[in-house]
Protein backbone atom coordinates (compact mmCIF):
# COMPACT_ATOMS: atom_id res chain seq x y z
CA UNK A 1 0.00 0.00 0.00
CA UNK A 2 1.51 3.32 -1.04
CA UNK A 3 1.50 6.29 1.32
CA UNK A 4 0.20 9.76 0.52
CA UNK A 5 1.94 12.61 2.36
CA UNK A 6 0.27 15.92 3.27
CA UNK A 7 2.86 17.68 5.37
CA UNK A 8 5.56 17.51 8.00
CA UNK A 9 5.42 18.85 11.55
CA UNK A 10 7.51 18.81 14.69
CA UNK A 11 6.89 15.81 16.90
CA UNK A 12 5.64 18.13 19.64
CA UNK A 13 2.81 19.46 17.41
CA UNK A 14 -0.19 19.11 19.69
CA UNK A 15 -3.13 19.00 17.29
CA UNK A 16 -2.54 16.90 14.22
CA UNK A 17 -5.88 15.97 12.61
CA UNK A 18 -5.58 12.22 12.91
CA UNK A 19 -8.62 10.29 11.67
CA UNK A 20 -9.67 13.26 9.53
CA UNK A 21 -10.76 12.28 6.02
CA UNK A 22 -7.99 12.72 3.46
CA UNK A 23 -7.66 12.00 -0.25
CA UNK A 24 -9.58 9.26 -2.01
CA UNK A 25 -13.17 8.16 -2.30
CA UNK A 26 -14.04 7.08 0.31
CA UNK A 27 -11.61 9.43 2.08
CA UNK A 28 -8.62 7.63 3.57
CA UNK A 29 -8.15 8.45 7.27
CA UNK A 30 -5.20 10.67 8.12
CA UNK A 31 -2.53 9.18 10.37
CA UNK A 32 1.03 9.99 11.39
CA UNK A 33 4.47 8.54 10.77
CA UNK A 34 7.05 9.51 13.40
CA UNK A 35 10.78 9.72 12.78
CA UNK A 36 13.10 11.35 15.29
CA UNK A 37 11.95 14.90 16.01
CA UNK A 38 9.58 14.94 13.04
CA UNK A 39 6.16 13.61 12.24
CA UNK A 40 4.67 13.23 8.76
CA UNK A 41 0.96 13.60 8.22
CA UNK A 42 -0.04 10.80 5.84
CA UNK A 43 -2.82 8.50 4.73
CA UNK A 44 -2.99 5.46 2.51
CA UNK A 45 -2.86 6.57 -1.10
CA UNK A 46 -5.81 5.58 -3.26
CA UNK A 47 -4.69 3.45 -6.17
CA UNK A 48 -5.98 5.72 -8.86
CA UNK A 49 -5.13 9.05 -7.27
CA UNK A 50 -5.62 11.90 -9.72
CA UNK A 51 -5.75 15.65 -9.17
CA UNK A 52 -9.52 15.76 -8.79
CA UNK A 53 -11.14 18.72 -7.18
CA UNK A 54 -12.22 16.83 -4.08
CA UNK A 55 -8.71 15.45 -3.59
CA UNK A 56 -7.09 18.86 -3.99
CA UNK A 57 -9.52 20.19 -1.42
CA UNK A 58 -8.86 17.27 0.93
CA UNK A 59 -5.14 17.98 0.76
CA UNK A 60 -5.75 21.65 1.47
CA UNK A 61 -8.22 20.95 4.30
CA UNK A 62 -5.94 18.53 6.12
CA UNK A 63 -3.14 21.10 6.00
CA UNK A 64 -5.44 23.91 7.11
CA UNK A 65 -6.54 21.86 10.13
CA UNK A 66 -3.01 20.85 11.01
CA UNK A 67 -1.74 24.40 10.58
CA UNK A 68 -4.29 25.63 13.08
CA UNK A 69 -2.46 23.77 15.83
CA UNK A 70 1.14 24.63 14.98
CA UNK A 71 3.72 24.92 12.24
CA UNK A 72 3.40 22.47 9.35
CA UNK A 73 5.50 22.20 6.22
CA UNK A 74 2.89 21.73 3.49
CA UNK A 75 3.70 19.28 0.71
CA UNK A 76 2.81 20.02 -2.88
CA UNK A 77 -0.25 18.05 -3.94
CA UNK A 78 0.36 14.55 -5.24
CA UNK A 79 3.45 13.21 -3.48
CA UNK A 80 3.22 9.44 -3.05
CA UNK A 81 5.73 7.30 -1.19
CA UNK A 82 6.12 3.54 -1.75
CA UNK A 83 5.36 2.91 1.96
CA UNK A 84 5.64 4.35 5.48
CA UNK A 85 9.26 3.24 5.79
CA UNK A 86 10.22 5.36 2.79
CA UNK A 87 8.56 8.35 4.49
CA UNK A 88 10.69 7.71 7.59
CA UNK A 89 13.79 7.44 5.45
CA UNK A 90 13.04 10.80 3.78
CA UNK A 91 12.43 12.46 7.16
CA UNK A 92 15.68 11.03 8.46
CA UNK A 93 17.63 12.11 5.39
CA UNK A 94 16.40 15.73 5.27
CA UNK A 95 15.46 16.11 8.94
CA UNK A 96 17.76 18.98 9.70
CA UNK A 97 16.45 21.11 6.86
CA UNK A 98 12.80 20.38 7.72
CA UNK A 99 13.36 21.29 11.36
CA UNK A 100 15.00 24.54 10.34
CA UNK A 101 12.06 25.43 8.06
CA UNK A 102 9.49 24.50 10.72
CA UNK A 103 11.20 26.81 13.14
CA UNK A 104 11.20 29.61 10.59
CA UNK A 105 7.49 29.12 9.82
CA UNK A 106 6.30 28.84 13.41
CA UNK A 107 3.35 31.18 13.98
CA UNK A 108 3.29 32.35 10.35
CA UNK A 109 0.81 32.00 7.52
CA UNK A 110 0.78 32.74 3.81
CA UNK A 111 -1.30 35.41 2.13
CA UNK A 112 -1.47 35.35 -1.64
CA UNK A 113 -2.18 38.64 -3.37
CA UNK A 114 -3.29 39.04 -6.96
CA UNK A 115 -3.92 42.34 -8.62
CA UNK A 116 -5.27 43.55 -11.94
CA UNK A 117 -6.26 46.95 -13.25
CA UNK A 118 -9.78 48.22 -13.26
CA UNK A 119 -9.74 49.12 -16.92
CA UNK A 120 -11.93 52.19 -16.89
CA UNK A 121 -10.15 53.63 -13.87
CA UNK A 122 -6.69 53.03 -15.29
CA UNK A 123 -7.64 54.62 -18.62
CA UNK A 124 -8.86 57.63 -16.70
CA UNK A 125 -5.53 57.89 -14.93
CA UNK A 126 -3.50 57.48 -18.07
CA UNK A 127 -5.45 60.25 -19.80
CA UNK A 128 -5.35 62.46 -16.74
CA UNK A 129 -1.57 62.21 -16.63
CA UNK A 130 -0.92 62.94 -20.29
CA UNK A 131 -2.18 66.12 -21.98
CA UNK A 132 -0.95 64.67 -25.23
CA UNK A 133 -3.03 61.51 -24.98
CA UNK A 134 -6.01 63.56 -23.87
CA UNK A 135 -5.65 65.75 -26.94
CA UNK A 136 -5.38 62.73 -29.23
CA UNK A 137 -8.41 61.16 -27.63
CA UNK A 138 -10.40 64.38 -27.88
CA UNK A 139 -9.47 64.77 -31.55
CA UNK A 140 -10.70 61.25 -32.25
CA UNK A 141 -13.90 61.87 -30.37
CA UNK A 142 -14.64 64.99 -32.36
CA UNK A 143 -14.02 63.07 -35.55
CA UNK A 144 -16.78 60.67 -34.51
CA UNK A 145 -14.34 58.17 -33.01
CA UNK A 146 -11.60 58.63 -35.60
CA UNK A 147 -10.43 56.54 -38.52
CA UNK A 148 -9.02 53.06 -38.11
CA UNK A 149 -5.49 54.49 -38.26
CA UNK A 150 -6.26 57.19 -35.70
CA UNK A 151 -7.73 54.64 -33.35
CA UNK A 152 -4.73 52.38 -33.72
CA UNK A 153 -2.34 55.26 -33.10
CA UNK A 154 -4.16 56.34 -29.95
CA UNK A 155 -4.71 52.80 -28.72
CA UNK A 156 -1.08 51.85 -29.12
CA UNK A 157 0.07 54.86 -27.12
CA UNK A 158 -2.51 54.10 -24.43
CA UNK A 159 -1.44 50.45 -24.26
CA UNK A 160 2.18 51.48 -23.71
CA UNK A 161 1.11 53.84 -20.93
CA UNK A 162 -1.05 51.15 -19.31
CA UNK A 163 1.81 48.64 -19.45
CA UNK A 164 4.08 51.15 -17.76
CA UNK A 165 1.47 51.53 -15.05
CA UNK A 166 1.31 47.77 -14.64
CA UNK A 167 5.01 47.67 -13.89
CA UNK A 168 4.79 50.67 -11.58
CA UNK A 169 1.78 49.28 -9.76
CA UNK A 170 3.46 45.92 -9.23
CA UNK A 171 6.20 47.74 -7.34
CA UNK A 172 3.65 49.89 -5.52
CA UNK A 173 1.80 46.78 -4.29
CA UNK A 174 4.95 45.09 -3.14
CA UNK A 175 6.09 48.16 -1.20
CA UNK A 176 2.68 48.74 0.32
CA UNK A 177 2.41 45.21 1.70
CA UNK A 178 5.93 44.11 2.52
CA UNK A 179 6.10 46.14 5.71
CA UNK A 180 3.57 43.94 7.46
CA UNK A 181 5.13 40.72 6.17
CA UNK A 182 8.19 38.67 7.11
CA UNK A 183 9.03 37.37 3.64
CA UNK A 184 7.67 37.42 0.13
CA UNK A 185 7.84 35.21 -2.93
CA UNK A 186 6.48 35.57 -6.45
CA UNK A 187 3.36 33.50 -7.11
CA UNK A 188 3.14 30.93 -9.92
CA UNK A 189 4.11 32.66 -13.14
CA UNK A 190 1.61 31.43 -15.64
CA UNK A 191 -1.39 33.38 -14.52
CA UNK A 192 -0.54 36.80 -15.86
CA UNK A 193 -1.80 39.13 -13.18
CA UNK A 194 0.05 42.41 -13.00
CA UNK A 195 1.05 41.24 -9.54
CA UNK A 196 0.85 37.73 -8.07
CA UNK A 197 2.75 37.69 -4.78
CA UNK A 198 2.78 35.53 -1.70
CA UNK A 199 3.63 37.02 1.67
CA UNK A 200 4.63 35.19 4.83
CA UNK A 201 2.84 36.95 7.67
CA UNK A 202 3.13 36.44 11.41
CA UNK A 203 -0.27 35.52 12.82
CA UNK A 204 -0.19 38.35 15.32
CA UNK A 205 0.40 40.78 12.45
CA UNK A 206 -2.32 39.40 10.17
CA UNK A 207 -4.68 42.24 11.06
CA UNK A 208 -1.99 44.73 10.18
CA UNK A 209 -1.36 42.98 6.87
CA UNK A 210 -5.05 42.90 5.91
CA UNK A 211 -5.33 46.56 6.94
CA UNK A 212 -2.43 47.42 4.64
CA UNK A 213 -4.33 45.78 1.78
CA UNK A 214 -7.36 47.90 2.62
CA UNK A 215 -5.23 51.04 2.64
CA UNK A 216 -3.77 50.05 -0.72
CA UNK A 217 -7.27 49.59 -2.17
CA UNK A 218 -8.28 53.02 -0.97
CA UNK A 219 -5.14 54.73 -2.19
CA UNK A 220 -5.07 52.93 -5.53
CA UNK A 221 -8.72 52.52 -6.57
CA UNK A 222 -7.65 51.64 -10.11
CA UNK A 223 -6.38 48.31 -8.77
CA UNK A 224 -8.51 45.23 -8.23
CA UNK A 225 -6.71 43.46 -5.39
CA UNK A 226 -7.61 39.93 -4.31
CA UNK A 227 -6.48 38.51 -0.99
CA UNK A 228 -6.31 34.76 -0.40
CA UNK A 229 -5.44 33.67 3.08
CA UNK A 230 -4.54 32.77 5.68
CA UNK A 231 -3.10 29.72 3.90
CA UNK A 232 -0.58 27.05 4.80
CA UNK A 233 2.83 28.48 3.82
CA UNK A 234 3.08 26.63 0.51
CA UNK A 235 5.42 29.20 -1.01
CA UNK A 236 7.89 29.23 1.88
CA UNK A 237 8.93 25.61 2.31
CA UNK A 238 12.47 26.04 1.04
Amino acid sequence: MTTYIYGIAHRTHAHLPEEMGGVGDPPRPVRTVVQGELVALVSDAPEDLRPKRRDLLAHQSVLAEAGAGGAVLPMRFGGVSPDDDAVKAALAEHGERYLERLEALEGKVEYNIKAAHDEEAVLHQVLAESPELRALSEANRQAGGGTYEQKLRLGERIAVAVQQREARDAVLIQRALERAAEEERPGPQSTGWLANLSFLVARERADEFVASVETLRKEAPHLVVQVHGPLPPYSFTD
Binding site: R53, N112, D118, A159, G187, V224, G229
Partner: protein
Protein backbone atom coordinates in the same frame (compact mmCIF):
# COMPACT_ATOMS: atom_id res chain seq x y z
CA UNK B 1 -10.36 14.99 -15.65
CA UNK B 2 -10.50 18.71 -15.70
CA UNK B 3 -10.49 19.94 -12.18
CA UNK B 4 -10.68 23.66 -12.17
CA UNK B 5 -11.30 25.61 -15.29
CA UNK B 6 -9.20 28.74 -15.13
CA UNK B 7 -11.98 30.62 -16.81
CA UNK B 8 -15.67 30.15 -16.40
CA UNK B 9 -17.76 30.51 -19.50
CA UNK B 10 -18.31 34.05 -20.67
CA UNK B 11 -18.72 35.57 -17.26
CA UNK B 12 -15.57 37.64 -17.53
CA UNK B 13 -14.43 36.41 -14.12
CA UNK B 14 -11.95 33.83 -13.03
CA UNK B 15 -12.28 31.07 -10.56
CA UNK B 16 -11.17 32.04 -7.08
CA UNK B 17 -10.72 28.36 -6.35
CA UNK B 18 -8.13 28.21 -9.06
CA UNK B 19 -6.34 31.15 -7.52
CA UNK B 20 -5.74 29.22 -4.32
CA UNK B 21 -5.24 25.77 -5.78
CA UNK B 22 -2.47 26.93 -8.07
CA UNK B 23 -0.43 27.13 -4.87
CA UNK B 24 -1.40 23.59 -3.87
CA UNK B 25 -0.27 22.34 -7.28
CA UNK B 26 2.68 24.60 -7.91
CA UNK B 27 4.14 25.35 -4.49
CA UNK B 28 4.74 23.28 -1.39
CA UNK B 29 7.50 20.92 -0.41
CA UNK B 30 8.52 18.18 -2.84
CA UNK B 31 10.46 15.09 -1.77
CA UNK B 32 12.45 13.92 -4.75
CA UNK B 33 12.31 10.26 -3.81
CA UNK B 34 8.52 10.20 -4.00
CA UNK B 35 6.40 9.72 -7.07
CA UNK B 36 4.19 12.64 -7.98
CA UNK B 37 0.72 12.12 -9.32
CA UNK B 38 0.49 12.98 -12.98
CA UNK B 39 -1.16 16.27 -13.73
CA UNK B 40 -1.94 15.30 -17.28
CA UNK B 41 -5.40 16.45 -18.25
CA UNK B 42 -5.56 19.20 -15.69
CA UNK B 43 -6.17 22.58 -17.20
CA UNK B 44 -5.25 24.51 -14.13
CA UNK B 45 -1.94 25.62 -15.57
CA UNK B 46 -3.63 27.22 -18.51
CA UNK B 47 -2.34 30.67 -19.18
CA UNK B 48 -5.01 33.20 -18.41
CA UNK B 49 -3.74 36.49 -19.71
CA UNK B 50 -5.00 39.47 -17.80
CA UNK B 51 -2.14 41.82 -18.45
CA UNK B 52 -2.22 44.13 -21.40
CA UNK B 53 -1.10 42.47 -24.58
CA UNK B 54 0.26 44.55 -27.41
CA UNK B 55 -2.11 43.74 -30.24
CA UNK B 56 -4.31 45.53 -32.71
CA UNK B 57 -7.38 44.29 -30.83
CA UNK B 58 -6.13 45.85 -27.63
CA UNK B 59 -5.31 49.15 -29.34
CA UNK B 60 -8.75 49.43 -30.88
CA UNK B 61 -10.43 48.48 -27.65
CA UNK B 62 -8.51 51.11 -25.70
CA UNK B 63 -9.18 53.78 -28.30
CA UNK B 64 -12.88 53.04 -28.21
CA UNK B 65 -12.95 52.87 -24.43
CA UNK B 66 -11.28 56.30 -24.27
CA UNK B 67 -13.83 57.64 -26.69
CA UNK B 68 -16.58 56.57 -24.29
CA UNK B 69 -14.85 57.84 -21.15
CA UNK B 70 -16.34 60.83 -19.45
CA UNK B 71 -13.28 62.61 -18.19
CA UNK B 72 -15.30 65.02 -16.08
CA UNK B 73 -16.94 62.25 -14.11
CA UNK B 74 -13.79 60.85 -12.58
CA UNK B 75 -13.01 57.15 -12.37
CA UNK B 76 -16.05 55.04 -11.78
CA UNK B 77 -16.21 51.47 -10.78
CA UNK B 78 -18.68 48.88 -11.82
CA UNK B 79 -21.23 48.32 -9.07
CA UNK B 80 -20.16 44.72 -8.65
CA UNK B 81 -16.63 45.49 -7.65
CA UNK B 82 -16.94 46.56 -4.01
CA UNK B 83 -19.07 43.49 -3.27
CA UNK B 84 -16.54 41.15 -4.73
CA UNK B 85 -13.72 42.77 -2.84
CA UNK B 86 -15.75 42.73 0.36
CA UNK B 87 -16.45 39.02 0.13
CA UNK B 88 -12.83 38.13 -0.24
CA UNK B 89 -11.66 40.34 2.57
CA UNK B 90 -14.34 39.06 4.81
CA UNK B 91 -13.30 35.49 4.28
CA UNK B 92 -9.76 36.43 5.23
CA UNK B 93 -10.98 38.22 8.32
CA UNK B 94 -13.16 35.32 9.38
CA UNK B 95 -10.15 33.07 9.18
CA UNK B 96 -8.22 35.35 11.40
CA UNK B 97 -10.89 35.68 14.01
CA UNK B 98 -10.74 31.93 14.41
CA UNK B 99 -7.11 32.61 15.10
CA UNK B 100 -5.90 29.87 12.90
CA UNK B 101 -5.52 28.33 9.53
CA UNK B 102 -9.02 26.93 9.64
CA UNK B 103 -9.86 30.11 7.81
CA UNK B 104 -8.19 28.71 4.75
CA UNK B 105 -10.91 26.12 4.36
CA UNK B 106 -13.42 28.92 4.50
CA UNK B 107 -11.49 30.76 1.83
CA UNK B 108 -11.68 27.71 -0.37
CA UNK B 109 -15.39 27.21 0.14
CA UNK B 110 -15.90 30.87 -0.64
CA UNK B 111 -13.84 30.33 -3.72
CA UNK B 112 -16.16 27.54 -4.77
CA UNK B 113 -19.10 29.79 -4.20
CA UNK B 114 -17.41 32.45 -6.24
CA UNK B 115 -16.70 30.02 -9.04
CA UNK B 116 -20.34 28.96 -9.05
CA UNK B 117 -21.51 32.54 -9.04
CA UNK B 118 -19.28 33.37 -11.91
CA UNK B 119 -20.63 30.49 -13.90
CA UNK B 120 -23.92 32.36 -13.96
CA UNK B 121 -23.04 35.61 -15.63
CA UNK B 122 -26.59 36.96 -15.71
CA UNK B 123 -26.73 37.08 -11.95
CA UNK B 124 -23.49 38.84 -11.39
CA UNK B 125 -22.54 42.37 -12.32
CA UNK B 126 -19.50 42.48 -14.51
CA UNK B 127 -16.25 43.60 -13.13
CA UNK B 128 -14.29 45.77 -15.47
CA UNK B 129 -10.99 44.14 -15.34
CA UNK B 130 -8.81 44.36 -18.35
CA UNK B 131 -9.22 40.69 -19.07
CA UNK B 132 -12.95 40.76 -18.66
CA UNK B 133 -13.22 43.12 -21.54
CA UNK B 134 -10.71 41.19 -23.49
CA UNK B 135 -12.73 38.04 -23.21
CA UNK B 136 -15.89 39.78 -24.21
CA UNK B 137 -14.26 40.90 -27.38
CA UNK B 138 -13.14 37.42 -28.17
CA UNK B 139 -16.59 35.99 -27.94
Amino acid sequence: MTVVPAQQGGSGGTSGLYDVLELVLDRGLVIDAFVRVSLVGIEILKIDVRVVVASVDTYLRFAEACNRLDLEAGPRKSPGLPDLVGEITESGARGKSKGALSGAAQTISDAFQQARDEAEPEQRPRTRRTAARRKEEQE
